[in-house]
């Protein structure tokens, strides 16, 4: 998982060759990340730094490549090119297991739930509690109830309900709860509030703030700029597969954000890392 001697020396790769400046300043750094699907170039050249304990909002138009980028960070697939650094050390995140071992957990846009399993089984999928070789259902059920209660998810009747029978918002709440349940250092959420009602959206935004208060970094994708400006410490804007701008949230306002989303440029807005170096 951590750096092997060769990979440390060959970090130039196809990336921009600019290694992250200081160690441990950034939790996660991406350099020159590209991803092709056959002829489709979903990510062209993405440089991005994610500081620890901060909320970074990733915004951009439909098809800009946001989901593709976070799937790359989560190990859904290996990038076509580029380097990933974790606490300043180069790492390979080629499988979901790699990402999870680093301490990255993700709420996917499609939620990645199994409809035929109940809430408890989904919450613990891949991380089941066991006693010897048998599953410890009671421990898992108790903790699931606790986690859902902490998140004020009170609308589900029973945690043994099949996820397929839940409403869209309840499913999303389960997916979010699953991602924040375990100890992680980086939580990635792809449109976590898209299906949520007013109070549940509020809950998730509170949760995001709460995570960053506890020193956990958050990347959140959202199309709702009001929410973005409410919770984010930093902003990163994608346009047609490139990261066109990133910086402190105070350097943006709604107008410049909208401009960046739609045209990829805006006067006075911070440029992306790539062009600043």
């Amino acid at each position: 998982m951590t750096t092997t001697p060769e990979s440390a020396n060959s970090q130039t790769g196809n990336g921009s060759g600019v290694a992250p400046s200081k160690k441990s300043e950034h939790l996660l750094s991406l350099r020159g990340i590209a991803k092709h699907f056959g002829a489709v170039q979903a990510l062209k050249h993405v440089d991005l730094d994610i500081p620890a304990g901060k909320v970074t909002a990733l915004i951009g138009d439909n098809g800009a490549g946001k989901s593709t980028l976070i799937k790359t960070i989560s190990g859904i697939w290996a990038p076509t090119a580029g380097d990933v650094f974790w606490n300043g050390e180069q790492v390979k995140v080629h499988t979901p297991g790699d990402a999870s071992a680093l301490g990255i957990s993700t709420v996917y846009q499609d939620l990645a739930l199994c409809d035929n399993l109940d809430i408890v089984q989904n919450m613990y999928l891949g991380h089941e509690e066991t006693r010897g070789i048998t599953l410890d259902e009671i421990a898992m059920e108790l903790n699931t109830k606790k986690v859902l209660k902490d998140l004020s998810v009170s609308t589900v009747k029973s945690v043994r309900q099949l996820v397929g029978s839940l409403s869209g918002g309840q499913r999303q709440a389960v997916a979010v709860a699953r991602a924040v349940m375990r100890d992680t250092q980086l939580v990635i959420m792809d449109e976590p509030t898209a299906a949520l009602g007013v109070s549940q959206t509020h809950q998730v935004l509170e949760l995001i703030k709460n995570l960053s208060d506890r020193g956990i970094a958050v990347i959140v994708i959202s199309h709702n700029l009001t929410d973005v400006f409410k919770v984010a410490d930093r902003l990163a804007v994608m346009h047609l597969g490139t990261l066109v701008s990133s910086g402190d949230i105070s350097q943006y306002d709604t107008t410049s954000a909208v401009e960046l989303i739609t045209t990829g440029e805006s006067k006075g807005a911070p440029s992306s890392l790539a062009s600043s170096h």
Binding site: T95, P96, A112
Partner: protein
């Protein structure tokens, strides 16, 4: 078994016809409708034939059901993943012929070596199917359709090579007794009382643990009802098995096939319900990409299911050879696989993956054996038997697909 809160329908002792339809639609109907169907079949055959419910015939029916049950369980490992094995009848046949040829005929290998060896062969066949499906990304029905022809060929080759005219008969005692031997009436009691007692302790303890942890548990009345029906079922079976069912000699006791079925049922259910492997097999059938994203090595568990299907098919093959008293090059693996899938689906396992239980093969297998046995008794033609089984299967698949629609709002 059920872990729903006390206020949900599942935990209420009374339920209405409306409830039943709702449960049918959402695939949570449990085993009740299917057991009602079985009871109707039994009543019908009992009226039409006075021997149908005789001790001898019921025992025979269970022996007939054994092969359907075991092949159904083999198939369930794959159906849960959303895969299928169309060659399972011939895989069983290869297990059977490996055992019969080596243990008898000219080789006379010790039976304790031969039985595990035969099972290893069928397990490897399962692994081969799984590897082709996983590595080459081929649909399992295509791989195993090829398997149906291929293994049929291997089977004929193996048997015809013995130079015994396309049939190898079985004389070795242990293998022959797998089906034809019986427990003594005393052991029949011991095994039955023991199994029921174990099941009761398991149920009560499970619920007690949940109560102790402050979780909703099934009301004691329901648990008692379940245990009560188990006791009655076991009692009826013991009385039937322990009745002398021969005319000139004394023949009684539970056929060995029954404890073998029970053991495989328990082992399979344990893996599916209590271990990570079982959890992942269900999850892969539900949404394999979600399982992969959860960091699970999906292919490892798919391969495991293929291996377990091969192993279970091998056990079915051994019992099949035992019942037939040998193995011939004409075994109809193609029909066997249909009965295997039918047993699983009639019992309530989904063809679309992610939903099913080992017990489904037991109930489906008994239903098929009942149709098979009862129709033969009342002198119905093979044609009618096929058509009746087809209708039952069609009904089961319809329920399955309706249930899927009732559940699947998001897929």
């Amino acid at each position: 078994m059920s872990k729903t809160s006390p206020d949900s329908t599942e935990a209420t002792p009374r339920f209405t016809v409306g409830d039943l339809f709702k449960r049918l639609r959402t695939g949570n109907s449990g085993l009740i409708p299917i057991l009602v169907g079985l009871a109707a079949l039994v009543a019908y055959f009992d009226i039409r034939s006075h021997v149908f419910l005789s001790a001898a015939n019921v025992t025979n029916l269970f022996i007939q059901a054994t092969v359907f049950i075991l092949l159904g369980m083999a198939e369930i490992w794959l159906l849960l993943l959303g895969e299928i094995d169309l060659s399972i009848g011939f895989v069983a046949g290869i297990g059977a012929s490996t055992a019969v040829i080596l243990v008898d005929n000219k080789y006379h290998w010790p039976v304790l070596v031969v039985l595990p060896l035969a099972l290893a062969v069928t397990t490897l066949i399962g692994i081969l199917h799984g590897t082709l499906v996983i590595r080459l990304r081929l649909p399992s029905f295509v791989v195993t359709l090829a398997g149906q022809l291929g293994w049929a060929g291997v089977l004929i080759f193996l048997i015809d090579h013995q130079g015994t005219g396309g049939v190898v008969s079985l004389h070795e005692k242990v293998l022959a007794d797998l089906v034809n031997g019986n427990l003594t009436p005393m052991w029949t009691w011991i095994v039955s009382v023991g199994s029921v007692l174990l099941a009761a302790i398991f149920m009560i303890r499970g619920q007690a643990k949940r109560r102790a942890a402050g979780l909703e548990s099934t009301p004691m009345a329901i648990v008692a009802l379940k245990i009560g029906s188990l006791v009655i079922a076991a009692l009826v079976l013991v009385l039937i098995f322990n009745t002398d069912r021969a005319t000139f000699i004394v023949l009684h006791g539970m056929p060995f096939a029954i404890p073998i079925d029970i053991f495989i049922l328990l082992a399979g259910s344990f893996i599916l319900n209590k271990t990570k492997a079982g959890r992942y097999i269900y999850a892969i059938g539900g949404n394999s990409e979600a399982v992969r994203r959860a960091g699970v090595n999906v292919n490892r568990y798919r391969l495991l299911a293929f291996a377990l299907a091969g192993l279970t098919a091998g056990i079915a093959g051994l019992l099949y050879a035992s019942r037939l008293g040998g193995i011939s090059d004409g075994i109809d693996g193609g029909t066997l696989v249909l009965y295997a899938v039918a047993a699983a689906v009639i019992g309530g396992t989904s063809l679309f993956g992610g939903r099913g239980k080992m017990i489904h093969a037991v109930i489906g297998g008994v239903i098929i054996a009942t149709i098979y046995n009862g129709m033969a008794l009342i002198g119905m033609s093979a044609a009618t038997q096929y058509i009746a089984t087809a209708l039952v299967l069609l009904a089961a698949v319809t329920i399955d697909s309706v249930a899927r629609r009732g559940n699947g709002t998001t897929r």
